[in-house]
């Protein structure tokens, strides 16, 4: 990373840290959304952008992660900081199982994608019938007043949630930056580019793909934990829905898969689009269901047809931060 890039990044960091002190609640909520997409997008990017496996079922890790931590809190009063370890463990295991079966039986490309979708859909319907976790009626965590900060139970002001997700997104960025320029990054990209050649160079492709799956799944599960405590309620129909999976992948695709800043930029654009849609609706006073998703769809279509590598590579060259 050159000096320009570092200084831009530092400025962005300062802005983000100071935001809660100057922004309205609405702006803060948009920023929280941006950071959530930045986090989950980066988690997904490890599997796709780096290791080249297209998963359209990442909502399953959001869902399992969310429900695990929420259940521990709801049924046993265990706080999310302890509960998240169960989320991590379950999702790591789930990712490992899916990966092991898929890679062992040479399920790749489109078939792999369909497999991930099928697993997420299976879970969605399954959790609809899982009455101990609320079933289709939903799981509701106890609502506490939003003006007191109870960090231990993840209850508190919007600002508290903002900093939590900011920390997660920043940690993810640091992890990706570290990984990209080390052996894992090289090996994953080699597998993505040409798996046969990678194997001939001594890379144990099964093991490395599994690693990508497990890391991606575990990271996404923490996003689920965040969701559960931020919204205070969970419905299988929402958290496991394929729309969540699509939202996760939009950021990296629009921003640029496989790059370091692509998912972050994409998430920002996505949050802006969502905000823009809400503004339009507020201004006209109309009830337009589906407008936000429609805009997402058009943005995705536009990026794929016009800028298939995503917005970041083109932008980076303009800003002269590209290597």
């Amino acid at each position: 990373m050159n000096r320009r890039a570092l200084s831009l990044l530092a400025s962005l960091g300062v802005v983000l840290v100071c935001l809660p002190f100057v922004a309205t609640d609405y702006v803060l909520s948009v920023a929280t959304l941006f950071l959530f997409f930045a986090y989950t997008g980066q988690a997904w990017n490890i599997l796709m952008g780096f290791a080249g496996q297209l998963s359209l079922g990442h909502s399953v890790y959001l869902g399992v992660g969310a429900y695990a931590a929420a259940a521990l809190h709801y049924h046993f009063g265990i706080g999310p900081w302890a509960g998240l370890w169960l989320s991590l463990a379950l999702c790591a295991a789930l990712g490992a199982v899916i990966g092991a079966l898929a890679f062992r039986y040479s399920v790749s490309g489109v078939h792999f994608t369909l497999l991930t979708i099928a697993v997420a859909e299976f879970m969605r319907i399954g959790f609809d019938h899982f009455t101990w976790l609320g079933g289709s009626g939903g799981l509701f965590l106890k609502v506490t007043p939003r003006d007191q900060i109870d960090l231990f139970n993840l209850r508190g002001t919007p600002a508290m949630f903002y900093y939590v997700i900011l920390a997660l997104a920043a940690a993810a960025l640091a992890l990706n930056a570290w990984v990209l320029r080390r052996r894992p990054g090289y090996y994953w990209q080699a597998i993505r580019e040409n798996e046969e050649a990678a194997q001939a160079l001594g890379i144990h492709t099964f093991r490395w793909k599994m690693l990508a799956m497990i890391i991606s799944a575990s990271m996404t599960s923490l996003g689920g934990v965040f969701l559960a405590f931020y919204y205070n309620n969970l419905f299988p129909e929402q958290v496991f829905h394929i729309s969540r999976s699509i939202e996760i992948i939009l950021g990296p695709i629009i921003g640029g898969m496989g790059t370091l800043f692509g998912p972050v930029l994409g998430a920002a654009l996505l949050a802006l689009l969502a905000d823009g849609a809400t503004e339009i609706l507020a201004a006209t006073g109309w009830e337009i269901p589906g407008l936000k998703q429609l805009i997402y769809g058009i943005a995705l279509f536009a990026v794929i047809t016009i800028l298939p590598h995503g917005v970041w590579p083109a932008l980076a060259r303009k800003l002269k931060v590209w290597k």
């Binding site: 079966l101 039986y105 369909l114 699509i246 769809g297």
Partner: protein, 291 residues
């Protein structure tokens, strides 16, 4: 015969009939996926669009779906043809996942445009003369399902005949078997892909006209149908047209059975579990004869 057995038989027949309509839907995907190698993630959404058109035709012009399906099929043939010709054909040489995401974008646009235009309320088409059941001995067959299945069979037969006997159909089959060879032999591959996509869209449109008689319609129904189509095509064997029909019937029957024995809302789980198992252990399909 005991009542339970009759009930059971009725459920199976119902499943087979519904399954034939599913089969036509999957047949459309089989043509698109099998020939143009397009992972049509907008397949269910295309059918949903056709269903809305059928609803409109009935509501505003009093044309029932059995008649409306002819112009609707024609319209969707053109739609599919141009989608392939103008958009997807440019992506043939790109990596598979790019194409997948392109169609995903199309699907998202379609679903939400429908939501925007028609709103989230459920709709259907009610034809009074379909309410009476057909009695065959002790068995009761739903008239609507029966006629829908009949149409589905006819459409499938027409499609089979086209691929088997017509010049263009043979050319398309050659294309599917050997893309490069077909090009070398002078076939206009891109045009054949467009025709295939058009045919696939027309098939799914006809299936939609029949589906509206069987199920309620909401804008969000698309993805579920897309996935169902993929389940059937993969279980039945990619590229196998008879496999698509057989797979459709298999899914139709198993959904009906699952509805009988387990909670009806859980029947989707069965289809997805089946897809997972087939993808892992027998990706060429349960019913495929290809080696």
């Amino acid at each position: 015969m005991s009542i339970d057995l009759i009930n059971f038989a009725n459920v199976i027949i119902s499943g087979v009939l519904t399954g034939l309509v599913y089969g036509l839907m999957a047949l459309g995907l089989s043509v698109i996926f099998g020939v143009a190698r397009v992972v049509n993630f907008a397949h269910g959404e295309t059918m949903t669009m056709a269903m809305y058109v059928a609803v409109l035709a009935f509501a505003f012009f009093d044309i029932n779906p059995f008649v409306a399906l002819v112009p609707i099929a024609a319209v969707f043939f053109v739609f599919g043809y141009f989608l392939q010709a103008a958009v997807i054909n440019r992506f043939i040489t790109r990596p598979e996942h790019i194409q997948f995401m392109l169609l995903l974008a199309v699907a998202v646009i379609m679903t939400n445009a429908l939501l925007l235009i028609f709103g989230p309320d459920a709709r259907n088409v009610q034809l009074d003369y379909l309410l009476e059941s057909i009695e065959v001995g002790p068995l009761l067959i739903d008239r609507g399902k029966f006629y829908a299945a009949l149409v589905a069979c006819s459409a499938s037969a027409a499609l089979f005949a086209f691929f088997r006997f017509s010049h263009t159909g043979t050319a398309i089959r050659a294309c599917a078997d050997n893309w490069l060879g077909a090009k070398v032999a002078g076939l206009d591959v891109k045009r054949l892909y467009s025709i295939s996509f058009g045919l696939g869209s027309a098939s799914v449109a006809i299936a939609g006209c029949m589906m509206i008689l069987l199920f309620d319609l909401t804008p969000g129904a698309g993805p579920a149908y897309t996935l169902l189509a993929f389940v059937i095509v993969i279980v039945g064997g990619l590229g196998s047209m008879s496999g698509a029909l057989a797979g459709g019937m298999l899914i139709g029957v198993s959904e009906a059975m699952a509805g009988l024995f387990i909670a009806p809302s859980a029947k989707g789980m069965f289809s997805f579990a089946l897809l997972i198992l087939v993808l892992l252990f027998r990706p060429r399909g349960l019913l495929s004869d290809k080696s």
